[in-house]
Symmetry: C2
Amino acid sequence: MSFRGHIRSCNNYDPARVVPLVAGTDRIGLLRRDNAAALRRFPEIFAVAGDEVRLLVGGDAGAVSRAVESVVDALVAENRIPKWRNETFDVAPRWGAPPVFRLDRGAVPFFGTRAYGVHLNGYCRDGNTLFLWVGRRSPDKRVAPNKLDNLVAGGIGNGHGVAETLLKEGEEEASMPTKLTKHAVPVGAVSYRMETRLGIRDDVLFVYDLEMPADFVPQNRDGEIVQFELMPAAAVLELVRTTEDFKFNVNLVIIDFALRHGLLHPDDREYLEVATGLHRPLD
Amino acid sequence: MSFRGHIRSCNNYDPARVVPLVAGTDRIGLLRRDNAAALRRFPEIFAVAGDEVRLLVGGDAGAVSRAVESVVDALVAENRIPKWRNETFDVAPRWGAPPVFRLDRGAVPFFGTRAYGVHLNGYCRDGNTLFLWVGRRSPDKRVAPNKLDNLVAGGIGNGHGVAETLLKEGEEEASMPTKLTKHAVPVGAVSYRMETRLGIRDDVLFVYDLEMPADFVPQNRDGEIVQFELMPAAAVLELVRTTEDFKFNVNLVIIDFALRHGLLHPDDREYLEVATGLHRPLD
């Protein structure tokens, strides 16, 4: 798959297949029409119309979360939503706004609420050659088992900050001490909107780069990564370009790294589609 | 003006005010409706309808260019297009495609054809502190006189490549020898679509970073820059955030530099609008 192929597959969202999930005057999610229809049998919690689904429950985030949880319970029993993940994400009209409710991570694609993650490119330099640390995801992972991944990556759970999540995940996934991870440099965000089997992923990934000490070898602690390898960045990029070995969204993070570090060239026919395709504007 | 203010003002384009300029099956420009109406009196060259303007002249780029030139001549005489700049840009449906015709730079916003430029962030490091070379544009410049600018910036004329333009402009604008400029690192592209007094700017800027030797002082040769100054990057960013001292599109290039070098923080309320606002997808 070419670079643009990865970008397009992460942006396969088709607005015609979706209706907005609305709370008050704000859109807070994107429901595929089959998922919207499944909410008709909860008329006290959701009003399902042809052009939108409206959240009817008011009150504080705790009260709304409990009402939505009762719906998620029923949808899990129907196998419309996979098992609970027991990790909740804030649902809000935009980053930094107060949450309308909290939602179990397993239910996020069903409702198409925006999810935020943090990804770390851990790299080394040897002369002019760049190397990237690459992890292989455990065969037990629910999403993208066995696929290759960044050195550190994780979702931002409710109530947690970006840097805080990076420090915590760095420790759990790669045994990186805080005094190392805190030197990571925030370098932007990758965003995309993707339809999957479960619904809509409306994702924002905060991206960090960290030049790693030559003598540090990451070790996984939480069982989510089975192996780490330090690979020449050019070889990583060739894997991205020609295979689907990496988790779908990690391809975009690595292409962004390559772009920012001069590994792609303006003469490349894909250059502008890549340079303008990694940061889907948020609405 | 805030960071997002600069991004919004470079993207003030309103599709309702514009019709496409079409050649064959391709859109090649964006004509504001008043500019489209002004083409009605050239019915052998342009077919002006309510929803599009169609280029009627076929043949090779030379023949089409001559036909369009005759129209531009007449529009300059009417003061609808400013004086000839005697520098032509390729007009093509997309980057790298063969040109349909060549157009004088002064007429580009009238037709809203896509224009490409190259901008160089020349920076120095002192410990952990970054500095940026900033130029002040001559009071004689037609666009943005007296405004602050990148170390090197220029439009990509027809038949010239990106790297070639950077080397040439580096020499003319800052007396940079090729052996220095060739180490510049391509780091992506900034894109925006803006309505100005003249029409539509549909611009793509190829961005390069170059760490400059501490002992190199740029000197202008072509009269386009009257002064260079090395400023702390944080001070440059504060000028961008609080003033309109920089040329409109240079604000975006500097915000992109700041984002990639960790000078902005994910906690900032503007962060995601900035991170997703600098790379308008091309269509």
